[in-house]
Amino acid sequence: MIEFEHVTKRYPERGDALKDLSLRLEPGEMAFLTGHSGAGKSTLLKLIGLIERPTRGQVRVNGRDLVRLPRRRIPYHRREIGMIFQDHCLLGDRTVFDNVALPLVAAGQPRREIGRRVRAALDQVGLLQLERARPLALSSGEQQRVGIARAIVGRPPVILADEPTGNLDPELSREIFHLFERLHQVGVSLLIATHDQDRVARMPYRLLRLHQGRLVADSGRW
């Protein structure tokens, strides 16, 4: 589903964020990406979402060669990838419903379809009753679940999460991880960057550890 071949990403101002990294994630696989901040976790996720392009090497997602993907195809690529961010990236002046609907609106879905799918996604994260609320009125755990609902509403085969529990207390974190497991059970591929190494080490999923831009540990497929 996700393939990295000898990928290097160099930033002019801070050098190599990823060094000759190779990696392969099977369809439906769920894996955690760990490492200190600055180890290259975010960079790796950004390359998959084509927010950035690699300096060298190959990145393939769902059989698609991202290095050669023309600019005008990027939006269509992003529709197949649900992205979840540490700071949620929600719009404060829109309702929860409107926030979750954004990917479908952007994809030009008809309104009836949007309503149905947004409610299905909100139902999955347990926020159906809050669809009229504004994100700022919600707790940070609820906000993160809105972010997850937005990531899954377009039913993408791949979900990326960058420190999704970074701002949450352990109880809320567990809820979020539980949600990810449920998504995994229905066949979504997930790659989750987290510094919460203790928690994920106890979970039966693949662990990828980055250190200074290199893959230093891979627990392999479960």
Binding site: G49, H77, C89
Partner: protein, 324 residues
């Protein structure tokens, strides 16, 4: 269909044409409403922008009306005598009438009007204010005058001069005065005015582009985070651009409407004074306002300038899709 994520159905990935068209219309309709709402939620900024645009758009429109009205005015003046032929005082009114009849057959002469000595005297008395002095005279000193109306389209300046010379060469003629020169000059001025409309119009259109470009730039700044998120969830550049283009169109249209109102107001304010002035000159001239075509052109051009202005701004400030 199941609510299971990951199970992208074939049906959804390839919506039928009609479904797609409906979704497209829905999206556009929604954008039209959203952008209008957005402008209504910031009434002060909207009115200020629209006011600036209105002034910029009203100026060329008004200048255009000045040119149109001057043209109309010379049109009515061209119907007045182009050449006045003063006959020798010795020529009798009967002879003058016969001459007038003959002149009517000449090429380029549309009509010949005979102004008798008595008429001339009456007019002179009325307009000169020298009535008392005239009463001292034993006999009418004025000659018979033939007023010649020419066909303006066929008569250039040279032809009129030739005609004048021919008239003066007549045995009955004393001298002929050509009145057309100032009309030519006026037409020159109108031509200049027309060019000025275009020049001023072009300059002010550029101003409209800058004003709208700037408001759209601010709008883009204000909605930076929204644009970034739309970008991340797979919105195409066209989709991101769309609300700004509609916003530009709305602002342009609003400015155009306001400009139209300004012009209509100006015309109605000037109508009274112009009417009084026209009455003094004994004509029934009335100020011509914006006709349907000009109004349509004004509104369409305003909206088009709005779209173009925001297009330019959007092109400059919305290039965030390209990954680095």
């Amino acid at each position: 269909m199941s609510a299971v994520p990951g199970a992208r159905s074939h049906h959804n990935r390839r919506p039928r044409l009609r479904r797609r068209l409906r979704a497209w219309l829905e999206q556009h309709g929604r954008t039209v409403r959203d952008t209008a709402d957005h402008l209504l939620r910031t009434p002060l900024a909207t009115v200020m922008t629209a006011g600036t645009l209105a002034i910029a758009l009203a100026l060329p429109a008004m200048l255009h009306l000045v040119a149109v009205n001057l043209e109309q005015l010379t049109g009515s003046w061209q119907r007045s005598a182009a050449i006045a032929l003063f006959l020798d005082p010795a020529v009798s009114e009967e002879r003058a009438a016969a001459l007038a009849a003959e002149l009517r057959t000449w090429d380029g002469v549309v009509q010949v009007e005979l102004i008798s000595r008595a008429q001339g005297l009456a007019e002179f008395r009325e307009y000169s204010g020298l009535g008392g002095a005239l009463d001292q005279l034993d006999e009418n000193p004025l000659p018979v005058v033939l007023a010649l109306y020419t066909a303006p389209a066929q008569m250039g300046q040279a032809a009129l001069e030739t005609l004048t010379a021919r008239l003066e060469a007549l045995p009955e003629g004393d001298f002929a005065r050509l009145d057309a020169q100032w009309i030519e000059r006026l037409q020159g001025i109108i031509g200049l005015l027309r060019s000025a409309v275009w020049l001023l119009g072009a300059a002010l259109a550029a101003a409209v582009l800058l004003v709208i470009g700037n408001t759209i730039r601010l709008e883009i700044e204000n909605r930076r985070s929204e644009i970034q998120i739309m970008d991340l969830v797979g919105a195409t550049p066209a989709f991101v651009r769309r609300p700004f283009l509609y916003s530009g169109a709305w602002q342009g249209l609003l400015g155009g409407l306001l400009a139209w109102l300004l012009v209509v107001l100006a015309v109605s304010l000037l109508q009274g004074p112009v009417g009084r002035l026209a009455a003094l000159y004994d004509t029934d001239f009335s100020l011509q306002g914006l006709d349907a075509l000009t109004s349509t052109v004004l509104l369409a051009a305003s909206a088009a300038l709005g779209i173009l202005g925001s297009w330019l701004a959007v092109g400059r400030h919305l290039s965030s899709v390209e990954p680095t």
